[in-house]
């Protein structure tokens, strides 16, 4: 049996996935990246190997992706997360023609073809609004965790606007709303809608009329998926574990690369 690994070193989390030659996922892991990307990549890979009951010698090809991709000496090759998310998404949802990946420090909207090839992409990397980090900061200023925020947002009855695009300004806006007596639930839903607006601005011309999947850690947040589907007026396809899609794509590309050697 041949085995392939993908390692996705993101700004917040490192994900690893092992695939066998029959395209079965046999091991995964997700860990906080921390400051030392190099260690994080290897830790995550070892955890995935353990999950798959394999040793590193069993692996035939390894591809690294994500911001830390160039800091993994054991990887045979590096591919950007854009290409990997495209490939991984297409594997899970062959009907998808667009991918929205909201990660820790940026968001990307990718147009793909039926083979999971990237046709076009746009990326927001200059401001934190529309990123996982933004959500974390906002949850922090409400003194709740991300799961609670998702739950709270559903209970919101009124629509409040969080208009600032800058994390720092948005935080002061949230604090002043809170101080002014606005309910946490309303603020939470306002935060999701703010991100949805930002991402929609980036996404709408790519996603319109297409089946869209959402990937990345932020896709785990039900509140976010809800707000974004509503704003884009389309049902979003979300994998059981959307956070692992980048690593999955990397492993799939590793297999292709290995077969082409």
């Amino acid at each position: 049996m041949l085995y392939f690994a993908g390692i996705d070193i993101g700004s917040l989390c490192t994900k690893s996935l092992i695939l066998n030659e029959d395209d079965a996922i046999i091991g995964t892991s997700i860990k906080r990246s921390g400051a030392a990307y190099r260690g994080a990549g290897e830790d995550a890979l070892n955890a995935a190997l353990k999950d798959a009951n394999l040793k590193s010698e069993d692996l035939n090809y390894i591809i690294s992706t994500g911001y830390g991709r160039s800091r993994i000496p054991i990887a045979d090759e590096q591919i950007t997360e854009i290409t990997c998310h495209a490939r991984g998404s297409s594997f899970i949802f062959p009907e998808a023609r667009a991918v929205i990946d909201i990660g820790g420090q940026d968001s990307k909207v990718i147009e793909i073809n039926s083979k999971g090839r990237v046709l076009k992409f746009v990326m927001n990397d200059k401001c934190a609004a529309g990123t996982g980090r933004f959500l974390e900061v906002m949850a922090g200023s409400l003194d709740i965790d991300l799961e609670q925020m998702s739950e709270l947002a559903k209970q919101s009855k009124k629509e409040v606007q969080i208009s600032s695009m800058c994390t720092v300004f948005a935080e002061s806006e949230v604090i002043s709303l809170f101080a002014g007596g606005t309910e946490k639930a309303e603020i939470a839903s306002g935060i999701y809608r703010a991100i949805a607006r930002r991402v929609t601005g980036l996404a709408s011309h790519i996603v319109s009329g297409k089946k869209v999947t959402m990937t990345g850690g932020v896709a785990k947040s039900k509140g976010m998926v809800w707000a974004l589907s509503k704003k884009l007026k389309t049902e979003l396809l979300v994998a059981d574990d959307p956070q692992i899609i980048g690593a999955l794509g990397a492993a799939l590309i590793a297999k292709t690369k290995f077969n082409n050697l």
Partner: protein, 416 residues
């Protein structure tokens, strides 16, 4: 409960209808077989003289902003590829055009018919980009008029001649071609006569802003600006200002202030924040702060009170933009500083608010230098606040409130 009480004027309640009528007549122009122009820069008197219905770029933006439609149009524009940091007036127009092109449902009162002629007054080299954008996307005919702001007094006459010649050689022939008839100079004169009368009444109203306490505010004047500008020549203009003047005279006699008690009097620099007049007003009221005078409404606009209605209408139209004020004193800060310094005395100003727009760089370069120079000469403090005229996302009211509170504290400290 605020310790300050805002007394709203009765007259300004009438403006909404007058303005709505204007935009409605534009929306229905095509059905009535009328020609439509869109215009940036101060030259819309010329299509009016040809009985065209005319949009004015910043006027439309203020209207759409005031209607609360700006955010949606901006987002439509961005979804159509416009960049977030670009001029928001430009983007509003591109958003409106995209909504038309793609049939995106938006409120009907902010959608205008595409023009037969776009007049790109290049007063600002950026805001005229919408004309190029619409030309490229929708093939609308454009004629440009370069309207450069002078930097020195010696340039005023020379620029005036340049603009006058462009109007005669490019704009008027283009209008004649589009409308298929000779240019109506008599109608232009008629418009200018009404405009002049309106502006003279307006100037009398301005005098009331010098009273302490003032019976009205810059915000009141902001909403009253259309009759002396893009509604020039309209039959409602003179009656509106007569009524306004009477109301102000009455208030002055009865010593009724716009804000009671009037704690501090401030100067407002930069564009008026059209979509947020109410929000700013609430913040300033809480601080007892009254905005009274500003470069944009005073000097950015031409000075129609100086029009020579007996003379050549084209020449006298241009003269009010250059020799007699307007552009000449305003757009270039070097010529502007002494004007503001005089206002600080005339209007008994206690502090300066420099509204620095993040999407328009017309006024914001030099804001801190203005504060420094005015503080040196007139001894009053000032703050810069950052925001946008119509884009909610660029205004952080929590930050703005803090800065305005700080200004109020600085003003208090100077008084002690």
């Amino acid at each position: 409960m605020s310790e300050y009480k805002l007394n709203r004027l009765e007259t300004t309640k009438l403006i909404g209808n007058i303005v709505d009528k204007h935009w409605a007549s534009l929306r229905h122009a095509k059905e009535n077989g009328e020609k439509v122009a869109w215009c940036s820069g101060p030259v819309f008197a010329f299509p009016y003289a040809m009985d065209m219905k005319c949009h004015f770029m910043a006027g439309y933006s203020a209207y759409a902003g005031g209607r609360g439609a700006a955010q949606q149009l901006l987002e439509i524009a961005e979804e159509d590829g416009e960049l977030i940091d670009a001029c928001s007036y430009h983007k509003l127009h591109m958003g409106m055009a995209a909504a038309m092109r793609k049939n995106i449902p938006v409120r009907k009162d902010v959608i205008l018919p595409l023009p037969d002629l776009l007049i790109s007054g290049r007063l600002c080299p950026e805001m005229s980009h919408y004309a190029e954008g619409l030309y490229r996307k929708m093939g609308v005919r454009v004629t440009g008029v370069d309207v450069p702001p002078p930097h020195q007094k010696s340039e005023i006459k020379y620029f005036e001649k340049y603009v006058e010649r462009q109007i005669r050689e490019s704009l008027i022939p283009a209008l004649e071609e589009v409308c298929g008839k000779p240019f109506n100079y008599d109608r232009l004169t008629e418009i200018l006569i009404v405009l002049k009368e309106t502006a003279m009444l307006r100037n009398e109203c301005w005098e009331y802003l010098k009273l302490k306490p003032s019976p009205w505010t810059l915000w009141d004047y902001g909403v009253s600006i259309a009759p002396v500008f893009y509604l020039m020549g309209s039959p409602e203009a003179v009656p509106y200002y007569k009524k306004l003047k009477a109301e102000l005279a009455d208030r002055a006699a009865k010593k009724i202030a716009a804000l009671e008690p009037e704690k501090s009097r401030v100067y407002w620099d930069g564009w008026l924040p059209w979509a947020f007049l109410g929000k700013f007003s609430r913040i300033m009221c809480k601080l007892g702060m009254v905005p009274l005078v500003g470069r944009y409404p005073w000097e950015f606009f031409p000075h129609p009170e100086t029009i020579d209605t007996e003379g050549d209408p084209v020449a006298s139209f241009v003269k009010q933009v250059y020799s007699n004020g307007g552009q000449a004193k305003d757009n270039m800060p070097s010529l502007n500083l002494p004007v503001i310094q005089n206002w600080v005395e005339d209007y008994k100003i206690d502090g300066l608010i420099m509204f620095s727009s993040k999407s328009c760089r017309m006024w914001n370069l030099g804001h801190n230098d203005f504060i420094a120079a005015i503080e040196r000469q007139n001894g009053i403090p000032g703050v810069v606040i950052e925001g946008d005229m119509v884009d909610t996302r660029m205004n952080s009211f929590a930050q703005i409130e803090t800065r305005l509170e700080a200004l109020a504290e600085m003003i208090e400290a100077r008084k002690e």
